[in-house]
Symmetry: C2
């Protein structure tokens, strides 16, 4: 890793060259580099936290003078209980994951002696632009190295001291590994973002980690593909047949466990026939914890028996509320009017979500499995959940070790993005002289026979197992599956 | 399908709404629509070819006056032997493929009663901008419908008559199916492209099907992800140990079977020690078929014994030649100087390819399997082939039925893009009240146990098979594979 004052072009072209070397390293070499980073950051905790304290001091002054938000300071604080340890654990978790490279997930016999396979490979060079969270450096560096990608990191000025401290430590740690020094570039040049975004000949993917404004400005300023999300407008749909205590617990978790997070719930949809029985207890629990509710007419009316103190937290919703990501202790509430059938209510709720949500994560609370499955099938968001909190949308919770971010893109990677989202594939053909014009209407026929996939070593074993499976299936009168 | 004069915004918002209906249709309904399109186009061949003849007449005049290239006219001609039948067969091939939707390729037990799965889904709304090839309408409509995506098609003025004829027939055919009429929109409004490219709230992916200039202008004009390739600069690396006859056949196929195609070879890399034995016969065969060779000094020198007539086709290469996609009967030739070892030559050839190729398809001709595997591992292109023609890079040849195009993107889909490249996934969780704050350092531990994937019906069967597999493996002392 190098903490560089190089020009954006120098940094990017060096990263490109290094990416080719990194791409062909063994998994054990990439893992050794992660061990080195982990051990170095473990040993230097005090140094990093001192640097972080300097960033926090500046940030807190900016909060006092109204230039920065309190939630940014929270994200900046590496000293918060368990945060540094989580960062270290994340590196080990990533190290422990299967090698994402060299996996063959598709193999076809095109013709005798002509085999096509699809093999996972690194994307190449990533550009990660982040704002306040300094632990992102360790997360991203781990994921990038494990997935064989070079990365250029550009941090915000709020975390500059933490950034420099972590970068110096990681850089030193990497010199003892086989990962090329230029594979992870930490750019501290001022005004580097705009020129970096023009370098599509070197950079393959941009991942902005920050607020809506950052993401939009990145998207507008580049022809490089951008992965991430501008908004996290998540909703939860509450039905009369759900369990009250479960609904209360889930919505408290979804709204309050981290209101500034992208996966917090922002809109609550309530069936009209659930207003009295389910919404009132949910609202009481939320209000008791200080949540402000922005209600439509019907849902507000359902709360008329609340105390005047409670009612001070209940406001009228405008149309804008259903398009707003509050990132705060506020929840918009909308009633789905009673319909002739349960399915029709569902259709309305789904239509609201598909029109208003940001395609991040949406949930349904119900005991009716038929309705739940319809919801799971119809909502077009990266995450669609049944009877759990939208806050579950997270790479660590999904078992990815850590994540580079959550994507609301409609291509490549959606939802929490871990190692797999940082890989792509190449199509390999091993032939024996075949030419294209030999095939077709007047020539030879393609065989197009799907072969077992898996790693190369795995194939011989697969072949035997496939035979066994087929025998087993035919003994049981089962079909062949695929 | 509607052939529309609607505004770009109307067309795109109607496509968006229709996409949600199309996304939840059964595979059988989507297949029925393909049958209807096939039958209608089969019955109306004469009508379509008459319209196509009118386009050809205009185009041929434009060629005479130098406004259009001959290769464009070739692409426009639907009457060319077998082309119409290939188009019809492509629809049936796509129909016959497995349903790409609803496939669960990843499933994790997060905790008891909390199951995560990743399920394939349509992307949403595609915008396809194409130039001359009118058969693209049938290909794209089939792939879009089968993959559950709405599509907006905008054709070039050269194919306007063919476009209108095909669109009218397909539109009528679709009225008898369950596919919503607005799911396939054929926009004939003039100057619609620039406004369509701004509609990122409705359109999820743009696929330009045309020349370099079209692709670049699309990329520069939109924040919507673009899938495709601007250039197809493919190379082939010729080594002394390859079989001469095979090399000649493969290079004739790669250069001449369709010089205007993106997967034709444009650069030949030759090891110095292969110049006499392999390059000379290859060059003679190519020159005899009218190919012009643009050679570096060493390779030109190797051809000094050719006749003066043959030598009239041998020119000097400039640096620019190694960055040029000729789309014509021209081939750039570069010598890889003799190195101390076979591996070092390979490294130089790979470095040339990674620096100059467009990441489309590159091939090696050798009998040395160790060298071939190193090449397959190191070249960073969508397709990397051994002992076969770069022309194999094609969706139909890969067994995809047909393709929406070939992608040199580094994310989402690379190489020939069929149905799978038109899908994405959603993460579904089925829970029973779990909340995020219950887990972590002080709470419950995640289970993160990988479960068998496959369709829902497949799971029960999988469970039994997995048990059997594990028994089988443990009996044999084998590891568990993944």
């Amino acid at each position: 890793m190098s903490l560089t004052n190089a020009s954006p072009e120098q940094a990017a072209s060096a990263a490109r060259l290094a990416s080719r070397k990194l791409a062909v390293l063994e998994n054990s070499d990439r893992n050794d580099a992660l061990t080195a980073i982990h051990d170095a950051l473990l040993g230097a905790k005090a140094t990093v936290l001192e640097a972080n304290a300097r960033d926090l001091e500046v940030a807190n002054k900016a909060v006092t003078s109204g230039q920065l938000s309190q939630s940014l300071v929270k994200r900046l604080d590496l000293g918060k209980k368990g945060k540094y340890e989580d960062m270290l654990q994340g590196i080990l978790d990533v190290r422990g994951l299967d090698d994402p490279l060299g996996k063959v997930d598709y193999r076809t016999l095109l013709d005798d002696g002509l085999v096509l396979e699809r093999k996972s490979s690194p994307i190449g060079v990533l550009l990660i632009i982040f704002e306040a969270r300094p632990e992102v450096i360790a997360n991203i560096a781990s994921l990038a190295i494990k997935s064989g990608n070079a990365a250029i990191l550009k941090g915000g000025k709020e975390s500059i001291e933490s950034f420099k401290a972590i970068a110096t430590i990681v850089s030193e740690a990497l010199t003892k590994s086989k990962v090329p020094n230029d594979a992870i570039q930490l750019v501290q040049t001022r005004d580097a973002i705009a020129p970096l975004l023009k370098l599509d000949q070197y950079i393959d993917l941009v991942i902005p980690r920050g607020g809506n404004e950052l993401v939009r400005s990145v998207k507008d300023g580049t022809t490089i593909p951008v992965m991430g999300h501008a908004d996290g407008l998540c909703s939860t749909y509450l039905r009369a047949d759900c369990e009250t205590e479960m609904a209360v617990n889930i919505l408290l978790d979804a709204k309050l466990s981290y209101p500034a997070a992208c996966n917090s719930v922002e809109t609550l949809l309530v069936d009209q026939d659930a207003l009295e029985s389910k919404f009132v207890p949910v609202a009481e629990a939320l209000v008791a914890k200080g949540v402000e509710l922005r209600c439509d007419e019907l849902s507000k009316k359902a709360l008329s028996k609340l105390s005047s103190e409670q009612l001070s937290k209940v406001k009228d919703a405008t149309d804008e509320d259903y398009n707003t990501e509050y990132l705060d202790s506020i929840l918009a509430v909308k009633t789905i009017p009673t319909q002739s059938s349960a399915e029709t209510s569902l259709v309305l709720a789904v239509a609201h979500i598909n029109a208003h949500s940001s395609g991040h994560t949406d949930a349904i609370l119900t005991t009716n499995s038929g309705i739940a499955e319809q919801f799971l099938a119809s909502v077009d968001s990266a995450g669609v959940f049944w009877n759990t909190s939208t806050r579950m949308a997270d790479g660590q919770r999904f078992g990815f070790g850590t994540e580079v971010g959550i994507s609301t893109n409609k291509i490549h990677a959606r939802g929490p993005v871990g190692l797999e989202g940082l890989t792509i594939y190449r199509w390999l053909i091993r032939g024996s002289g075949q030419i294209s014009t030999a095939y077709g209407s007047s020539g030879k026929q393609w065989k197009h026979e799907r072969l077992p996939a898996g790693s190369d070593e795995w194939v011989a074993q697969d072949a035997e197992e496939l035979k066994l499976l087929r025998e087993h299936r035919s003994n049981k009168g089962l079909s062949n599956g695929h």
